[in-house]
């Protein structure tokens, strides 16, 4: 039997809900409860429909995480762009597949699709106050500590690479280091690192490939933000690198992750994190 918290998604749902409540209470996010409900409903219905089509039992944990992520990161004046984002997000899991895995992180592709295709939805990268940034960091760190078993080397590598690039740029330009610090103190960035790009279902399974994936995403995000001046560079970077993920996997093949599995880690991180217990279930379903 699996323990209650063996599945990191439960922890994610709790922390994302907590962040949302905090952001809402601190009035940092202008969230309409009706929109929120509509996004949850759309995501769950889409998941149920998709599961029905491929004749599997619907699990509502994933669509709930997607709905929470969308509510935290995407804004709109009306409900429909958010519902469309949720439908695209969940739909992509069933329709856009390669190597037996879905290509895109659901919330990520939902955001990118709506931002690229319409003007009706937008992200608000600058609207996280320091308090919420700190809360997001704590939540992310908590996730990391609790589930070091799962593949949370991704946020470390991503954030580390991104920070090196930002500080490198500041040093090259002769800028005060307050500038890269300001850029790193961004709640959306922290949320992206701990709750989006780290999704074990859409990161490569091999440890080396995963490190390259996270580092590559950071490099891409940096170029899109600072050389192409795209305010949503972070989200585009993940969508683009997800499309070439099969290449990483081809060089470094490994068994597909199932929720609750422990995973392999790059050697450098293994020193800090001892090996973990055996898989909670005997064999992967796929």
């Amino acid at each position: 039997m699996k323990g209650f918290f063996d599945d990191p998604r439960l922890y994610q749902i709790l922390t994302l809900s907590g962040l949302l409540a905090f952001g809402w209470a601190a009035r940092a996010f202008n969230i309409n409860p009706v929109h929120f409900g509509a996004v949850i409903l759309t995501a769950c219905v889409a998941q149920a429909l998709g599961s029905f089509m491929i004749a599997t039992k619907p699990d509502l944990k994933s669509p709930l995480i997607t709905a929470l992520s969308l509510t935290l990161l995407l804004r709109a004046d009306s409900a429909w762009p958010l519902m469309a984002a949720a439908a695209i997000a969940i739909g992509s899991k069933f329709m856009l597949r390669l190597n037996g895995k879905h290509i895109f992180n659901p919330a990520n592709i939902g955001i990118v699709a709506m931002v690229v295709m319409t003007d009706a939805a937008w992200t608000t990268p600058g609207q996280w106050g320091t308090a919420i940034w700190f809360a997001a960091l704590l939540a992310g760190a908590g996730l990391f500590v609790t589930y070091r078993a799962a593949r949370f080397d991704v946020p470390l590598i991503f954030l580390g690479s991104y920070a090196i690039l930002l500080f490198g740029r500041a040093i090259w330009l002769g800028d005060p280091l307050a500038i890269p610090m300001l850029r790193l103190e961004n709640g959306a960035l922290i949320l992206f690192a701990f709750f989006m790009i780290s999704d074990p279902k859409t990161t490569p399974d091999g440890a080396a490939a995963r490190a390259a994936f996270a580092g590559g995403a950071a490099l891409l995000a940096y170029f899109l933000t600072f050389h192409f001046y795209l305010a949503d560079g972070l989200f585009y970077a993940l969508a683009i690198i997800s499309m070439i993920r099969p290449l990483f996997e081809w060089f470094n093949p490994a068994q597909h992750y199932q929720w609750g599995d422990p995973v392999t880690r790059p050697k450098i991180l293994r020193r800090f994190m001892p090996p973990v217990k055996t898989p909670a279930h005997a064999a992967p379903a796929e």
């Binding site: 940092a28 804004r75 709109a76 004046d77 319409t118 003007d119 009706a120 939805a121 937008w122 608000t124 990268p125 600058g126 609207q127 996280w128 106050g129 320091t130 090259w172 330009l173 002769g174 800028d175 005060p176 307050a178 500038i179 300001l182 850029r183 192409f228 001046y229 305010a231």
Partner: protein, 459 residues
């Protein structure tokens, strides 16, 4: 059972209907009562930015007060500008934009509580003042610095410079008589490495004399660049203390916000004591300063976000198509004289205006302001409400209740004001008392008097 359920459903449905009705336009424009002092903020600059895709027009107001021969400003620009890309416009247009977007005071008069409520509205506005960031000097030549172009536009002599080294540029500027603040070299170096050019403007005294104006007109530049930003770093260097900046953006899709700093809505739609009417300027200034501190001095404030077709209440009429074209809104027709309507009419100009207000210094705003246009077209305005109590001699149960409620309402207003501005609450209460907003509970009739009534009421 079934009946009660039906009733509930009906009640719920009508509640939604009510929300929809009041959520729509309960629009009526008030009329103008007073204008607050326009010199509210010292060292403030006003900048209007038209932005559509990569197309950008920046209009910089110029409130330079000193000797015109001493005036000079250095602005980082993303590209080398041709002469046709530089323009001089009229102060009045920016002043109009400022007035149209200003926080406003709205006045309501309580009607006789014994009669049906009716409302009237008046308003006042506060317009801030501005001051351009300046570096003084004159010019010469050379030192690894390339003069890309040199023009005279209106009363300004303009140089477009590019440089390879920051020390070369700073030496060149110093040799040419520009006083550079400490730390300028590092900042210039950062801009140079990012491929930035420099726009240096000085006053051409002969041309200026020909304008017959006592002031300098706003300079405008038009260019295409993927960067949607406003350079503020050079301005933080020579400033003693904080600087005020008002940014007005004119866009097509919707509201503009900063991506590297929080954009926070200024508290709005509060009931404030009636004596504020004569001190609206002070109120706005104190409130703004208080909010800046509340947000740890790191926030940009949203003061207005509205479709340019209308306003409610209007602090000033919306800008005409000609004025908008002058500010760079190239997609409007222009040439149609007359005042635009104050109410929602068929969308004519497709212009969304955002007013941002920031009080900045290098410690809290190390990086330039980076902007982003969102799809948000919801309206926002800084609006503060005065509610004059009914002074007439009303005698009915409703009037008694109304009077009994007043002290509580005044107390709420006093607390809201103290909270918004950081002013002393006892001071506020005293001023409210002087203005006729008394906190004393009205004497209540005894219960038997209310039971059997008095002489002038029926028994």
């Amino acid at each position: 059972m079934n009946r009660s359920l039906k009733k509930t459903l009906f009640a719920a449905a009508s509640a939604i209907a009510a929300i929809t009705v009041t959520g729509g336009a309960v629009a009526f424009c008030g009329f103008y009562v007073a204008k607050a002092d326009t010199k509210l903020f010292n060292k403030a600059s006003k900048v209007a930015i038209m932005r559509d895709e990569d197309r950008t027009v920046i209009t910089m107001a110029n409130d330079f007060q000193g000797d015109l021969a001493e005036f000079a400003m250095v602005i980082p620009v993303p590209v080398v500008l041709e002469e046709e890309q530089i323009h001089v416009t009229e102060n009045a247009i920016l002043d109009h934009l400022d007035a149209y977007t200003s926080p406003r005071l709205v006045e309501y008069f309580d009607e006789d509580p014994c009669v049906m409520y009716e409302r009237r509205e008046m308003m006042a506005m506060a317009a801030p003042a501005m001051d351009e960031v300046t570096v003084t000097g004159s010019k010469k030549d050379s030192l690894g610095v390339t003069i890309e172009a040199q023009y005279t536009v209106g009363e300004y002599d303009i140089l477009i410079l590019s440089a390879e080294q920051s020390d070369g540029l700073s030496t060149w500027l110093k040799q040419n008589g520009y006083k550079l603040p400490d730390g300028a070299e590092e900042t210039l170096g950062s801009y140079i490495k990012q491929g930035t050019k420099f726009f240096v403007a000085k006053v051409n005294l002969e041309e200026q004399a020909q304008t017959n104006l006592k002031y300098l007109r706003p300079l405008q530049i038009a260019f295409e660049s993927p960067k949607f930003m406003l350079p503020i770093r050079l301005g933080t260097l020579n400033a003693d203390g904080k600087q005020e900046l008002f940014v007005f953006t004119l866009t097509r899709k919707g509201r503009v916000e900063t991506t590297n700093y929080r954009t926070v809505k200024l508290p709005s739609n509060m009931d404030v004591p009636v004596y504020i009417k004569s001190q609206f300027g002070d109120f706005y200034k104190s409130m703004f300063e208080q909010q800046v501190v509340k947000e740890n001095e790191r926030a940009v404030f949203l003061e207005y976000a509205w479709d340019m077709n209308w306003c409610d209440p209007c602090a000033a009429d919306p800008l005409s198509q000609n004025e908008l074209r002058e500010l760079g809104v190239y997609w409007t027709g222009g040439d149609q004289p007359g005042i635009l309507p104050r109410r929602p009419t068929p969308p004519a100009q497709d212009v969304f205006v955002t007013r941002l207000h920031v009080s900045y210094d290098a410690a809290h705003f190390p990086e330039d302001l980076m902007f982003k246009e969102t799809g948000d077209r919801s309206n926002f305005q800084g609006r503060y409400v005065l509610r004059h109590p009914y002074k007439g001699d009303a005698k009915c149960d409703a009037a008694e209740n109304y009077r009994a409620e007043l002290p509580k309402r005044f107390e709420k207003e006093a607390q809201a004001l103290a909270n918004l501005t950081g002013w002393d609450i006892d001071d506020i209460r005293e001023k409210m008392n002087d203005a006729g907003q008394s906190f004393e509970e009205p004497k209540k009739d005894s219960w038997w008097k209310r039971l059997w009534g008095t002489d002038d009421k029926e028994g």
